[in-house]
Amino acid sequence: MRAASAATLQCLLLRPSARLARGFTLIEIMITVALLLILMVSSLSAILFFRGSAARLATYTAAGAVVEGRVEAIRSATYNPPNYPFTASTVTSNFNETIWLSKKGTNFLVPGTVQCQIKPVTGGHLVTATGTFATPGKPTVVSLQTIVNKFSGGQQ
């Protein structure tokens, strides 16, 4: 009886060290690596998404500046209807523009068009400037609108 108890105790004491000596099985390692890969891929897609968002913001900033310049020029034109460009019918003008400076700083990579529409409405003329730029994947569109009348051109 006493000998049997001693054997059981010895077996219990040896069990943890025996487990350690056995190590991990191939299946366990493969599952760990697979989990790690899933984590990496999901993180990578999130990072790529961040990069895309930041680049898109730069595109909108550049495109917005171009469109704003056109609106500002029209807002500052002498408002004397029906003289051009504030005529009795809608006037549309297109301007070719480019954005996205290349890495070498010698040229622009993305072409686009800014369409300016000056439409007579009650109380003045409605100016709509829409810039469409051929960015990779999906085109970037920025649109600004304002009302121009005899009070908006500033003092001259």
Binding site: G23, I29, V33, L36, M40, S43, L44, I47, L48, F50, R51, S53, A54, A55, L57, A58, T61, A62, G64, A65, V66, E68, G69, R70, E72, A73, I74, R75, S76, A77, T78, Y84, P85, F95, E97, I99, W100, L101, K103, G105, T106, N107, F108, G153, G154, Q155, Q156
Partner: protein, 190 residues
């Protein structure tokens, strides 16, 4: 044998993780840089816009390079200083927006900056963009036409080369509302 296999797998996993972390770090650094650049470019552009709009005089006088924009302002709308019948279009003080390169070369963009002097006569200035200001191909930073339309063209680029290349370009036109000549700005633009 088992130890060798275990070492091989560990090396594979570790090298993958290190490469991933390195690329992820650079990518996040580039994303942050891009965001900062966007903010700097847009803020500087809007700042120039605000000052030009209320200026009574816009010029790049004595600066054929187009690096300096000089703006005149009327400080007292009740006094007609130049006796032209318009009390709002005088020039009582001048402000300056200036592109500066630290080493005399525009190509080295790390030390290129854009500053604003609230008074031409004083040495105090505000740094609008501290570094990375780049000229656009074939264009001046500031160009004035018809005494009223100010063309503003510049880019802000990332000067830290290890995290990719980020840039944001600004090409716009601002017009002084208190312009002296009665000109139709719309027709003179290209």
């Amino acid at each position: 044998m088992e130890i060798l296999v275990a070492l091989g797998i560990s090396t594979l996993v570790l090298s993958g993780a290190i490469t991933f972390m390195d690329m992820a770090g650079k990518s996040l650094s580039g994303t942050t840089s891009q965001t900062v650049i966007n903010q700097r470019a847009a803020n500087a552009s809007e700042f120039v816009f605000r000052r030009v709009r209320f200026a009574t005089l816009v010029s790049t006088t004595n600066d054929a390079s187009g690096n300096t924009l000089r703006l005149g302002f009327d400080d007292d709308l009740t006094i007609d200083k130049d006796n032209n019948g318009k009390p709002y279009d005088d020039t009582d003080h001048y402000e300056v927006l200036q592109f500066q390169n630290g080493d005399g070369r525009d190509e080295t963009i790390a030390d290129n900056r854009l500053i604003y002097k609230p008074s031409e006569d004083r040495t105090n200035f505000l740094v609008l963009i501290p570094s990375g200001v780049q000229k656009l191909p074939g264009r001046k930073i500031f160009a004035v036409t018809n005494l009223s339309a100010v063309y503003v063209n510049f880019a802000v680029a990332d000067t830290y080369a290890h995290d990719g290349y980020q840039t944001c370009d600004i090409q716009t036109v601002f017009v002084a509302r208190n312009r002296p000549a009665s000109t139709n700005t719309f027709t003179i633009l290209p």
